[in-house]
Assembly symmetry: C2
Homo-oligomer: 742 residues x 2
């Protein structure tokens, strides 16, 4: 019964939406045809295929260098080949360290026996494959043998060290212990090292993904006491990919740096541990009680330390190069074969990797299969569709980065869009990407139905946004169903496409009703996934339908569905944000300095506890934003004019249309600054970058924003001019499009 | 060295403040004399006396009905008598239940053995006095023998039941388990009963005052695993004091209600337990995982329940009347003996009660001793000073309420002010009270030095307020050192003075650097207090100096230091608040109703979990605030005029001055509505009351505010008119003062 109900609801919405709105970038005739192909596409998507593929692909650990990693690549390539795709496996040879020695002890304490080993779960078919599993470790940690007192640094981000400084605690010469979360994990040892620490332990607190959040595996999906999050700690905010071959593909004979010159490898040893192993270490800590927001869910009093006892951490790695297997499969376009619509997801996992990454990968494979079925029925994509299954994403986005670096000239010419997914689960659509794509994406989201409720994924997203908002925001937002795209930071394979080359990108996936503690552990298994994260692959199917639509519409559009207005509005908000950031910083500095002079910080603190007040800061100057603001006005006008003309663009001659398309997809390239961002030239996009001190967390207008945050006023002013330049170049592209459309 | 430094700082501030500002209500000549007496008073205050008295008074449990309770009253009376005070012990005979049977078990589970008993701590001299301690219980629980499934209700306030309703969980016929905190404890069983629960267990979560907050006793002051918070659960927001004698003193022959007609006694059995005893109960709970804000610090997943297992709770009490011993000591005024300045603190404790209440009581005793020493040197208070040591505060403000009810006619005539304290510790001044007293109190706070930092307690309060504020607030507040008085709700002995009779009141104490988990447990001992809460009684001395100054200045002022402007401003803010509350409620209702109609709440929730959406609410009307707003303008003008005239008031003739004083201290009486608040006529003050559903938490303009919260629009409108009436009557008093001053 439910199935029937869903079907009618879907039909009804289908009609109501398209009665009033054309398909962006399609003539009416082409739109009708396209929607028919999409309907057939939906009908072809099968959960059972995703289930079958995940079962195979997650049957053994399949990290970089494992037999199953290669086997999976071949399995994927064979599938794609069997569906008629021009398929190849592209190999690269990056540095990929694996552990040789992992030793952690409390000096002189024979009772502390850290397991450093996750425990198999009865009833889970793969958690017991000990001999095939990578041990729990952080890739690109330094080798090291250190003995020192322990200090608790909360999340280990710069603000935490400021707070420690206030408490008079230094980590110089100490080993720090940090909680996972709050930043990309690689930030923790990097910032620890910057503050003089000689070792770093990272643990998963039960408050974050253990029993505090819900029942632990196998009763629920949360982290059991021995669970450990593996993961890379490479300094990817400087550059991702092989540490030895920045900017170029790590081919067999590529020129390589000496390992000692590779700045993205950590300078100190780093080890991730479970909360069971962490508790005795945390109980060693003396000193002040940790601030409330630092405390976790263990049944102890969290102190900041240092400890009186010393801790001994010894780590050694095999510093080997490993072969990567990127699967690249093409379906050539019949009209514009040199315009590529690229769809990707990685295939390597840290262990069995069911949720991460196979849940997204099997959805992608099903898209590829369904499109191949459509082709059998006569469907021909106008542009070339490229399906990619990346290897080595987990260690450092290795597979995608090396492939993109290797093919950068071709990609700059041909890549129209890169559409990424990664782990996927039950819940709500999440979407980030280049903001020119926002209206286009919203049209797609209107047409995909949520499998649990029968409304569109856009309606459901709107419902959650409204319910999560506070009362004041609710009344403002009521009726505004637009899905605001997030800005892309780092964390998956879109990084090199967008941030190194300036290829418009999207990252999509479902989630929010699939929380768990299995991430990067042996518990990320087929059994856990199918029980807790997406039973029946309902959201695997929804992902196929969403990403498949994006892929097909981008591949087939008469005129590419780019909207500069939505880009303008978003960037204009960013400009407002950095101005406010500067103003707030100025006001706060002034007030804080007065408070310091009046000794208010000291007077407010308990004199029986060490407290070191902050010191006077230099005043914050006014900066000249006028060039940028004037440039934004130009962009605003051009974007508005473009939008007016766009509805008639499909009536252009074929030649003009082709010229227009070329301008449209290359517009994003003009946001690239060839010199790159300050101190990290690999990152060249002036609008979006991962934060230098947050990692995953995006920094928009990164050149300006991070300079203000770091109080580097000269650099901030310089970067305002850099951004002005790219905004002008971008506006030139919009104007070029306008000329073609007139 | 430090001592010398403090002395000079104090002198410097002393001069700087008074060079520019007269002492409110004193002629210049009298001010000079008064400040000299205060200086001598400060010199007399000795920490060693407070230490000695606390040691004796806390040497044995001294709850109502215990031998030590009576012995302490006699000890206090003897001290006061020996210092020359006219001292009596006033006795009342209220109902005071003590436990006969306390039984808690999981049905069919032989392994659950709740201790229901706190453990003695080695090295603490009194925690082992088991035979003298009251068992852990909640006074005024019902007798009961109930067996049912368990449901976790978070703090057990109405909002928690709304959330349970959303989760489809009913407590009807169930036993609830609630965390301490978030409301006056008596709210929990009251609201549970209103929702159909048949029993209530309250436990102390370690996240609130156990190991999450800091080291547990004896390493630190926080609650050990067996620690239990005793306490009253009487429905005091309806009326405090003896449940059998509302409105009248519980004298031997007072007319008493039948126990079954006493509405303030709980209708269901209630038992407080430790977190060690609570954990196995919480682990029984099934159902949804508790919302994040509900979860505590135990190493378990908190579920809301219900449990499948049943819990059996059996409680029986001795429903005896017990004799109270209020100590009342008078030092008659030499000019205005019929104007009373009343200073009080209770003396009964739940067990040894070192912090609560003896830390405040010994400060008060030292004030009384120092004043008696001044009298020997020639000091004579102008008005009568009354020192009170109340019995039976813990069960239900018994001693103060019965005394005030018994003496209400005399007090209405004579009481100028009631100055209360209770537990006291290291840290910052905290002060609440009638807002006419705010400028006066601020002048006192300028003159008392913080013992740890050498700046005034006002400066230190300002420092903390600034440091705690967010950046936006800091720049607004910079330089505004005024201590804003809190509004008085409930929780100590000022209640009957202020809220039943309309006597201007203050409640003061130091704290904030003395947190702990000893409250109402056997761990509130002399040893814990002197180690962790106020070592050396530094803040006991500071409290004596603060409360002593308030007492002496009020007793000696030529013209009482009342300021109506500060009252006007505060109440005008309250009027703004209730208007905003109504407007927000209107807007939220409108938005929520639309969201309900669009099914957004349902669509936003996980369909695999039970979710019951809220139902459509009636629209919120506009109410007529104009009468009240017009009355506020009248008060504003009168207050401004009064303030202009006040500086010359000390030049009036003695007769006019006396008439003026009479008007000034009786002004607060006009805020009394003889009919009382809706559904709780004992509470008669129209500006301040404890919240009907929060207990401790004050509700200002309670008649209006609670009616709006309960969506009773008719009652809200009626109460706007009631408040208008009292504001007009109050303004008449201000105008009467103006006439006298002209």
């Amino acid at each position: 019964m439910k199935q029937v109900f869903l079907f009618f609801t879907a039909l009804f919405l289908f009609v109501s939406v398209h009665a009033q709105e054309k398909l962006m970038g399609f003539t009416d005739a082409h739109a009708t045809k396209q929607l028919d192909w999409e309907k057939q596409f939906d009908g072809l998507i099968k959960a059972s295929n995703q289930d079958e593929w995940m079962k195979f692909l997650s049957s053994h650990p399949h990290h970089v260098g494992s037999p199953q990693d290669k086997a999976n690549a071949e399995y994927i390539a064979n599938l794609l080949r069997s569906w008629g795709y021009q398929t190849e496996i592209a190999s690269y040879y990056p540095l990929f360290p694996t552990p040789k020695t992992r030793m952690l002890e409390i000096v002189g304490d024979k009772t502390y026996k850290p397991k450093l080993q996750e425990s198999a779960i009865a009833g889970d078919k793969t958690t017991g494959q000990y001999s095939e599993q990578l041990p729990t470790y952080n890739a690109y940690s330094a080798d090291g043998d250190v003995t020192a007192e322990l200090v608790f640094v909360n999340r280990g981000v710069p603000a935490d060290y400021e707070e420690l400084e206030r408490m008079g605690v230094s980590v110089k010469g100490k080993i720090v212990i940090a909680k996972y979360g709050g930043s990309w994990r690689g930030i923790k040892p990097k910032v620890a090292y910057e503050h003089g620490a000689i070792g770093c332990i990272i643990y998963s607190d039960p408050a974050d993904d253990g029993y505090v959040q819900g029942d632990i595996y196998p009763e629920g999906p949360f982290k059991p006491k021995d669970g450990v999050q593996r993961g890379s700690v490479m300094d990817m905010p400087v550059y991702p990919g092989d540490p030895l071959t920045p900017d170029v593909g790590a081919t067999k004979d590529a020129k390589r740096l000496d390992r000692k010159d590779a700045v993205t490898i950590m300078k100190i040893p780093v080890l991730p541990i479970s909360y069971a192993d962490a508790q005795p270490l945390l109980q060693l800590l003396k000193g002040q009680v940790a601030p409330p927001s630092w405390r976790g869910g263990l049944p102890i009093t969290y102190h900041v330390g240092p400890s009186t006892e010393k801790v001994h951490l010894k780590l050694e790695f095999n510093w080997d190069k490993k072969q990567l297997y990127d699967v690249i499969a093409k379906m050539p376009g019949n009209e514009l074969p040199d315009e590529w619509v690229i769809r990707g997801n990685h295939h390597d996992g840290w262990v069995n990797g069911a949720a991460d990454p196979l849940s997204g990968l099997v959805a992608e494979l099903e898209e590829a299969r369904a499109i191949s079925e459509l082709v059998k029925k006569g469907y021909q994509p106008k542009r070339t569709i490229v399906f990619c299954a990346w290897d080595g994403e987990e260690p450092a986005l290795l597979g995608s980065t090396e492939w993109v670096e290797d093919h950068q000239q071709e990609l700059k010419q041909k890549a129209v869009i890169y559409i990424n997914s990664d782990g996927n689960g039950r819940g709500f659509i999440g979407a980030s990407g280049s903001h020119t794509l926002e209206p286009f994406f919203n049209q797609v989201a209107d047409d995909v139905m949520d499998p649990q409720t029968g409304v569109s994924i856009k309606e459901r997203h709107y419902a959650r946004t409204m319910v999560r908002a506070d009362a004041a925001m609710r009344s403002k937002m009521l009726g505004n169903k637009n899905i605001k795209l997030g800005a892309l930071g780092a964390g998956s394979d879109y990084s090199s496409f967008l941030q190194h080359l300036g290829i418009a990108s999207m990252d999509i996936g479902f989630g929010g009703e699939d929380p768990g503690g299995e991430y990067h552990s042996i518990y990320d298994s087929y059994d856990l996934f199918t029980k807790f994260k997406d039973p029946g692959f309902q959201y695997g199917v929804a992902l196929s339908k969403t990403a498949g639509r994006i892929t097909m519409r981008m591949a087939d559009a008469d005129v590419l569905p780019m909207n500069f207005n939505s880009f303008y509005k978003t960037v204009n908000d960013y400009v407002g944000e950095v101005k406010t950031l500067l103003d707030n910083s100025r006001n706060e500095t002034e007030t804080d300095n007065k408070m310091i002079n009046e000794k208010l910080f000291v007077l407010a603190h308990d004199p029986t506890k060490t407290y070191v007040p902050p010191t006077i800061k230099g005043l914050v100057p006014f900066l000249n934003f006028s060039d940028l603001e004037n440039a934004m006005v130009q962009l605003k006008d051009a974007s508005a004019e473009y939008e007016k003309l766009y509805s008639k663009a499909t009536q252009l001659s074929a030649e003009k249309e082709n010229q227009l398309n070329d301008v449209l997809y290359k517009a994003e390239r003009s946001l690239i600054n060839p010199d790159g961002l300050p101190r990290r030239s690999w990152y060249k996009h002036e609008i979006y970058a991962p934060g230098y001190y947050t990692g995953y967390g995006v920094k928009t207008l990164p050149g300006i924003r991070e300079a203000i945050e770091q109080r580097n006023w000269k650099e901030a002013q310089d970067n305002i001019e850099v951004v002005t330049k790219v905004i002008k170049a971008y506006t030139d592209q919009v104007n070029a499009a306008i000329v073609l459309m007139k």
